[in-house]
Symmetry: D2
Subunit: 226 residues, 4 copies
C-alpha cells in the first residue's frame, strides 16, 4: 500500500487511460509527475492535476535515468507506453518490430528498475504496468504487439516474485478491450472500456495492504467476448 | 455494479473470510442474508450485521431452491463453501471425493443458477465465487480439492461469458494462501492473508461499473511464493 | 514409458477417437481391454483388435473396482468418457449437471485411482485423460461440460505432480475441435480433427521416456481458431 | 507435416539439444543446415550429420536475411538461441537486458519471418521455437530471460494463429528443466532432461499431419516439480 500524499509518477501520458489515472491519483492526494515523449499536449492535464511534467523517451536508458533523478522519491510508478504495429506477418518491418519491443517491454524494464531502486530502501511502493489482451493471447497479424506485451507480463511477474517479499507491490493490469475516447463523445455508451473506471482498478491495487496483494487484474466491458 | 441497499446473500458462512465479507457489506449498506449448514454459530455475526440467517445444505438442490425462495430479490450472491480432503492419491475415499465435488462445485452451480434466475429479469447483479490456488494449480496429494476448485473456476468462466452481456457480473476470486484466523491473535502479523483485506477486493469487484469488469482476481500475502 | 506388449485398458469406447486408439495400440503390440457402458456395439472393434471387452459404468465405484480386478496388471489406462449438456444457464437441469460431473470427472478419479494402485508397485505405467477445449476455456451455454473438463484437468495435474516422481506418467490431452466421424465420409477433408492422427499424439506421450515427459498436449485441425 | 528429405535449418547450434535435433533429423532423412554465431565448434557435428554450416548472428537482420538466402527452400526451421542473465533485479545491466530480448525474441522474429516467406508459397513447412519454463512463469532474479522467453511464446502463438490456416505449422516447445550434458557423463542418470528424448517430441510435432496439430508441448524430467 502506497503512502498517500507521496509522488506518483506516470510514464506514457496522453489522453485516455493515463489522463484518467492522473486525475484520480491527484484527487486522492498524490503529487503527480507526468512523463511523455511529447509534453506539448500535456499542459491542460498538468494544470488540472497540478502535475510536474517531464520529457522522456521511455526506451532510452539515459533519459529514463535522468527522469527518475529528476522525480526523486516516489510511492507509485505506472508504465503505460506501447508501440503497436499490425499487418501480415511476412510484411512486418523488422525495425518497427524492434521498436515495438523496446518501447513496450524494454522501457518498462528501465522504468521498473529505476523505481525499484528508489523504493527498496524504504521497503514500500507500488509499480504498475499497463498490459493488454495481447499479453495473454497472441493474435494473428499482431506478432510485434504480442511480443512486447507478453514480455511486459513476464517482466511484471518476475519482478512481483522478487520484490513482493521486500515490500514493493508490482502489478500487471490486463486492459482487454478498446478504451472509450474523450474525442468520441458517445452519450453514455458503456460498450467500451471507460478509462475512469479502469483507473479505479489501479487505485484498488494501489490501496491493497500487503497482507492481500494481487499481482494481476484484467478489465473489459460487459459486452466484450473473452 | 450492484445497487447498494439491496440484499447480499452469502452462502457458506463461518468466521474468517465470510464474516469479514458480511461485516463489510453491512457497513456498505447492504441487507445481509447469511446461509450455512450450521447456523448455531452465526448468532453473534447475525446480530452484528443485522443479518437474516438461513439454514441450508448448499449441495442439496431442494434446500438451495428453498433458500433462494426465502431470500427473494438480491443484488449480490457470494458462494464460499468447499470441502477439502488431502492424502496420498491411492488412499483417497471415493465417497469423500464425490462430496468434495458436490460441495465445492455442484453447490456453486445450484446457487449460481438460482441467483442468475433472480437477477436476469432486472438485468443486473453480482455473483462471486471464492476460489483457491487449487483452482489454477493441481497440487500433489490434493486431487479432490483441485477437482472441485478447477470445476468452480470453469463454472465461473462459463457463466461470465454467458451472463456478462446480459448485465450480470460474475467473478472468481483466487484466494492464494492461508487466511489469518481471529482464533489465532498474532499481534499484527501480516504474513498471512487478512480476511478484512480480501473482502475489500470483493467489494471492489462489486462496485465496478459494467464498462470495466474483471472476471477474476487473485490475492495473496506479500511474502507468499506463487 | 510403458512396456510394449502389456495390457492397455481404454475406458469409454465407441467409435471415433477411442476406436482409433484401440487400433493403434493393438498394432503397436499392446493387449487391449476395452470398457464401455454399452458393449453391444463393440463386437467388431474387439474382433479387429483382439480385445477383451468389459461392461462398466465408469461413474460407479463398485463397477470400476470390479473392472480393474478383471483386467489385472496393465501398462496403459486411457479415460475417455464425458457427458455433455448444453443450453441457457438458467434452464440447465441440476440432475444432468451432476451426471456431467460424475461421468466426466468423478469417473476419471475412480479409474485413475485404480490404475495408480495397480501401477505404483511396479513403478511404471501411463495414465491418459482425454480432455477438451472446455477444460481450459469455459464457454457460454456450456457450464456443465466446463465444470467436468476443468475438474478433469485439475485431477490430471494433481496426479502428475504426485505420481511422476514415482514413475507413473500422467497426461492430459486437450482435444480442441470437432473430430471427423467415420459415419460421415468426407473425401479427404482435413478441416476436422482426424482421430487416427490424434491417437498418434497419445502414442507419442506413451513412448516418452521418463527423462522427458509431457503432462499436457493439445491438438486441433490446422484451420481451427484458438 | 514437413516433407521428408527436404532441408531442415537449425539456428543456434552447439552441443546439447541442438546437436540431438541435428542427429535425429539427419537420421530421418532431412538435409541439414546448421547456423551458429561460432561455427568453429561445429565441425564434428556437421561431418556426422552431413550438414552445411552457416555463420550467422541471429539478432542481426542482414545476417539472418543472408542466411536464408544461402539456405534456400526448406521444410523445417528450428530457432534455439537465447541469452540469459540472472541477478538481483536492481543490479541488472540494461545493455545485457536488451541483448537478451534481441537474441531470445527479436532474432526469433527475424528467422520466423524469413522461414514463413519461404514456406508460404508452397503452403507447407514447420517452424519450431525452443522455449523454456521462463516463458510461462516469470522467476525471481530472472526478469531478462522471462521477458525474452515470454516474448518468444507470444510470437509463436501469434504466428500459429496466422499461419496455421495457411498450411504452416508453428510450434513452441517448453523445455522445463535442466538438460543433461554430454560433457557430464552420468551413467544413465535420468533425473535431468535427455536432449535425445526432447528431440523426439520435436520430431513428433514435425510429423503431425495438419488434421491434428499441436502448437505447444512441454517436457520435463519425471522428478521435476512444476
Amino acid at each position: 500500500m502506497a503512502h498517500k500524499g507521496g509522488v506518483a509518477l506516470i510514464i506514457g501520458v496522453g489522453d485516455g487511460l493515463s489522463a484518467s489515472l492522473a486525475r484520480l491519483l491527484a484527487k486522492e492526494g498524490y503529487t503527480l509527475a507526468l512523463a511523455s515523449r511529447r509534453v506539448e499536449k500535456l499542459d491542460r492535464l498538468a494544470k488540472e492535476t497540478k502535475a510536474k511534467i517531464h520529457r522522456c523517451d521511455a526506451s532510452d536508458p539515459a533519459q529514463v535515468a535522468a527522469l527518475f533523478k529528476g522525480v526523486g522519491d516516489h510511492e507509485v510508478m505506472i508504465y503505460n507506453p506501447s508501440y503497436r504495429i499490425r499487418g501480415p506477418f511476412i510484411e512486418l518491418d523488422p525495425t518497427e518490430v524492434k521498436k515495438s519491443l523496446e518501447i513496450t517491454a524494454f522501457g518498462a524494464f528501465l522504468a521498473g528498475q529505476q523505481a525499484a531502486r528508489n523504493m527498496l530502501p524504504r521497503g514500500r511502493g507500488t509499480i504498475m504496468f499497463t498490459g493488454a489482451s495481447a499479453g495473454v493471447k497472441g493474435y494473428a497479424q499482431s506478432a510485434p504487439f504480442a511480443m512486447g506485451k507478453f514480455a511486459l507480463r513476464g517482466l511484471a511477474q518476475s519482478m512481483a516474485r522478487e520484490l513482493h517479499p521486500r515490500g514493493i507491490h508490482v502489478a500487471h493490469i490486463v486492459v482487454d478491450g478498446g478504451i472509450r475516447s474523450s474525442q468520441r463523445p458517445d452519450g453514455g455508451n458503456d460498450n467500451m472500456l471507460n478509462p475512469d473506471s479502469i483507473a479505479r482498478s489501479y487505485l484498488h491495487l494501489l490501496h491493497q495492504p500487503r497482507d492481500s496483494w494481487s499481482w494481476e487484474i484484467e478489465v473489459r466491458p460487459w459486452v466484450e467476448t473473452f
